[in-house]
């Protein structure tokens, strides 16, 4: 062993490897603060406590969906199944808790069953990917259609309105100023971050996105982890479907409409790359807040609703272009 004095010497001599937050990682949070500041300066309505609560409550469902999709994106895969999976879970939970269509009153168990159904659909995406070698873009698109089909069958022409007090209260009742849904979302983010940081599944998702062939060269079987990541993503979508049902007070087939692309946008804006291996839950969550603050802020400063969609799109493209700027090179192939 070398003496401590020598150790210090050696450490001082070598360039210190980075272990903190890189400049690029810092970009989206800085953008969030700046955007928040700009809107606060421009609009008195924006900078109210009520509006901040409003933003958080609006972001809740998207945050949960984004948590799920982040694991898939980290692997370099893509997941378009959120709308179908959320629709199926929305209908399942609406029919299992107290409602106007049947005599079920399973309460929290109904919620768990709905999430389980969603997890099974996610698992299906993963299995199709690793067993049939169908690219995730197509498998998840197919699974979304399956989910919508299942939801439509359960819907059967009559909209189930829920009468379950607990689930209705999630969207309405507040704890420390935020709705229960917001707290559920915050818990999901914490849970997702722990999985990403402290479990083999989370770390291997990073590794698969970083250099999948190295994993197999090291004797790791990759397929189970891929299936597990899609299953985990499915469970998050399932919970999100339940949350939408709570907001609407009814189970709708279209509960998850548009959440697939909204979640991908949020994740990418936050710094989770579509090529995999970079970013993570916290990045994606910042992305969710960025997108939500942007939408809310544009309304508050009085941008015409006719303009909002276009302006929002422009800002998203600009944000992503800025994120990939450091790694552009000549003759780069972009698809």
């Amino acid at each position: 062993m070398t003496s401590p004095a020598e150790d210090v010497d050696v450490v001082a001599a070598r360039p210190r490897p980075r272990r903190g937050v890189s400049f690029r990682d810092a970009g989206p949070p800085v953008a969030l603060v700046v955007m928040f500041g700009v809107f606060s300066a421009l609009s008195a309505d924006f900078r109210t406590i009520g509006n901040v609560q409003n933003i958080m409550d609006t972001a809740a469902v998207l945050a949960v969906v984004t948590c799920g999709i982040t694991f898939v994106l980290l692997m370099g895969s893509i997941d378009l199944s959120a709308p179908g999976v959320m629709g199926a879970s929305a209908l399942a939970v609406a029919l299992l808790v107290a409602n106007n269509r049947n005599d079920n009153d399973l309460g929290i168990i109904g919620v768990l069953v709905a999430i389980l159904l969603a997890a099974a659909l996610g698992c299906l995406s993963g299995l199709a990917l690793v067993l049939l070698k169908v690219p995730s873009f197509m498998t998840t698109l197919g699974v979304s259609a399956i989910g919508l089909g299942v939801a439509t069958l359960m819907f059967a022409g009559v909209q189930p309105n829920i009468t379950d007090a607990m689930i209705e209260s999630w969207a309405v009742d507040r704890f420390l100023g935020f709705s229960y849904l917001t707290w559920i979302a915050a818990t999901c983010v914490l849970l997702g971050w722990s999985i990403q940081r402290y479990t083999r599944l989370g770390r291997y998702a990073f590794a698969i996105g970083g250099a999948e062939e190295v994993l197999s060269l090291s004797g790791v079987k990759v397929a189970p982890y891929k299936v597990a990541a899609f299953t985990l993503a499915g469970s998050f979508y399932g919970l999100a479907g339940v949350m939408v049902t709570s907001q609407l007070g009814a189970g709708l087939v279209q509960a998850g409409k548009g959440y697939d692309f909204a979640a991908i946008t949020a994740a990418v804006v936050g710094g989770t790359l579509l090529t995999g291996g970079r970013g993570g839950i916290l990045h994606s969550t910042v992305g969710v807040l960025l997108v939500t603050v942007l939408t809310n802020g544009l309304v508050q400063v009085g941008v015409s609703p006719y303009w909002q969609g276009g302006v929002q799109g422009l800002i998203v493209v600009a944000a992503v272009a800025a994120a990939v700027l450091p790694q552009r090179r000549r003759n780069q192939v972009t698809k």
Binding site: V10, P17, R19, F206, A207, G219, N331
Partner: protein
């Protein structure tokens, strides 16, 4: 000093138990015999060097040892036991581990995770990471090789040399799986290291010998002799002999690597033009870019200039920079007296510069597209009238070139990926010729992966082009090829042009003369 040339005759003697023994290993690829009955012995606690030209079969042999290539015939014995190695995991079970030439680390994980990847042991309990235990496991491995890397640093923030230490630490994990001393394979570990880092690596290799056997592969023969106990030489997929490192000179090894296969006029020497046109076609002054500095280069019309250098010398980037594919920071380049625009590949094409990339299947051709479409990919005007593609125009043009270059293809509509490598390469070359405006041809390993016959045809084609006044810059696959084809050779080392060697027909330098300049 004399060298021991032991013909591998005494191998069958069952004498001492070797750490690893390979008998008569054979591997065929379509059109190429990569391994043709290789024998190899690795003794306990020795560092065995493996030398051979490109294409001698080194990488195939190593891949067979770690289960990445399934040999067609032959046996592998580990410590006196015949084994079948079907995967990297199998190899690890038998105590064989390899540090790959292209580093096999996951860049976005920590060093610690990479070291224990696949065998986390107490670092992970029921799928949940215990970062402390993992760091300690990794630290143990790093301590073995005396490295001071922070185990929790992200791998892509480490220097290349440090990452190599991480790889060695990772490979040494196979000790956990076997009770015997492991066999560690180091494939070209020094190719991108600075000399100080190489010293550190050699210290590690000598340390490894105390508890393992090592197979060391390098292009730099002096290094091989420096660090190894014994060197085995491969040529054309066969083991041609071995040398005790003590007392041997790089020249001895080199002679064995090349053999005496001076096949007459393989490089169409006689067609090499003796009289030099004095018109300089390409003039490069002070060209600097990401991996090279201050490069000067002149190529006359009808001349072939080869650039040689070891991996990391920057020659590939010089070649690509002349085609506008790598950005440059300084320098003047003129083509036939006019300033050459290096800002894009499109400008280079328009100026009459052609580039044949080394990665033919990835960069050189569009696999599923037809021979005709591949041939007319760049010079669209040759097949178009205005904005429209004229099928008859394309057909007659392409057929003419198929005949002229004797490209063997069922017809011009055949997908190029169905052709043999040599014929594919001819189509890629023809792409630059169809418009008849080519002035400078940049050939990056044009014969890579081709068999002897196909090589010879590519050489003949190069001679013809030179005769018609095209200036050629060649990055050769081997030194022999460079010497055989070039009129002049530019030696590059560490991003600088260090030496220029004349190479006229009849007065060719030997590979050794060049090797001295390269390292």
């Amino acid at each position: 000093m004399t060298t021991d040339l032991i013909k591998e005759a005494d191998v069958k003697a069952p004498a001492p138990v070797h750490a690893l023994e390979v008998r008569g290993l054979v591997k065929h690829y379509p059109g190429v015999k990569a391994l043709d009955g290789v024998d190899l012995v690795v003794r306990q606690h020795e560092v065995l060097g493996l030398a051979g030209e490109n294409g001698a079969g080194k990488s195939t042999l190593l891949k067979a040892l770690v289960g990445l290539v399934r040999p067609d015939a032959g046996e592998i014995w580990v410590r006196g036991e015949k084994v079948r190695i079907k995967s990297v995991v199998d190899a690890a079970e038998h105590g064989i581990g390899m540090v790959f030439q292209e580093q096999s680390l996951v860049p976005n994980l920590t060093a610690a995770e990479n070291i224990v990847l696949g065998s986390e042991g107490r670092g992970v309990r029921r799928g949940v990471y215990r970062w402390d235990a993992m760091r300690r496991l990794a630290q143990e491995q790093l301590d073995k090789i005396g490295s001071h890397i922070d185990p929790l640093a992200r791998t892509d923030t480490l220097s290349f040399a440090d990452r190599q230490m991480v790889e060695i630490a990772k490979v040494l994990r196979i000790e956990q799986r076997t009770s015997h001393p492991p066999v560690i394979i180091l494939d070209e570990p020094t190719s991108v290291l600075e000399s100080k880092e190489i010293e550190t690596l050699f210290t590690q290799v000598r340390r490894l010998r105390e508890f393992a056997s090592v197979i060391f592969v390098s292009h730099r023969l002096d290094e091989v002799l420096d660090v190894c106990d014994r060197v085995c030489v491969l040529r054309g997929g066969e083991s041609v002999g071995e040398v005790a490192a003590a007392g041997a000179a790089p020249g001895d090894l080199h002679r064995m690597m090349i053999g005496s296969t001076g096949s007459e006029d393989h490089y169409h020497d006689t067609a090499q033009r003796s009289e030099k046109t004095l018109r300089p076609m390409l003039q490069v002054r002070g060209l600097s870019g990401p991996t090279f500095r201050d490069v000067d280069l002149d190529v006359h019309a009808g001349e072939v200039v080869a650039i040689v250098g070891v991996h990391g010398s920057g020659r590939e980037d010089v070649c690509r920079a002349l085609f506008g594919a790598v950005p440059t920071t300084a320098g003047e380049v003129t083509l036939d007296g006019e300033k050459l625009d290096l800002s894009s590949t499109r400008a280079a094409c328009a100026a009459g510069v052609g580039y044949v990339p080394a990665e033919r299947k990835i960069e050189g051709m569009v696999g599923p597209m037809s021979v005709a479409d591949n041939m007319t990919l760049t010079k669209q005007k040759a097949r178009c009238t205005g904005p429209l593609v004229m099928p008859q125009k394309q057909a007659s043009l392409v057929d003419a070139w198929i005949t002229r270059l004797s490209i063997r293809t069922p017809n011009r509509g055949t997908a190029i990926q169905r052709l043999s490598g040599g014929n594919q390469q001819k189509v890629v070359l023809a792409r630059w010729l169809v418009a008849g405006d080519i002035r400078l041809l940049l050939l990056d390993h044009p014969t890579r992966g081709l068999d002897i016959g196909a090589r010879s045809e590519v050489y003949r084609l190069m001679r013809e082009l030179a005769d018609s006044g095209v200036a050629t810059v060649l990055l050769a696959d081997s030194l022999e090829e460079a010497i055989g084809m070039a009129d002049r050779i530019l030696v590059m080392s560490d991003g600088r042009a260090t030496k220029e060697v004349a190479c006229p027909s009849g007065g060719k330098p030997t590979p050794l003369d060049l090797v001295k300049e390269m390292v």
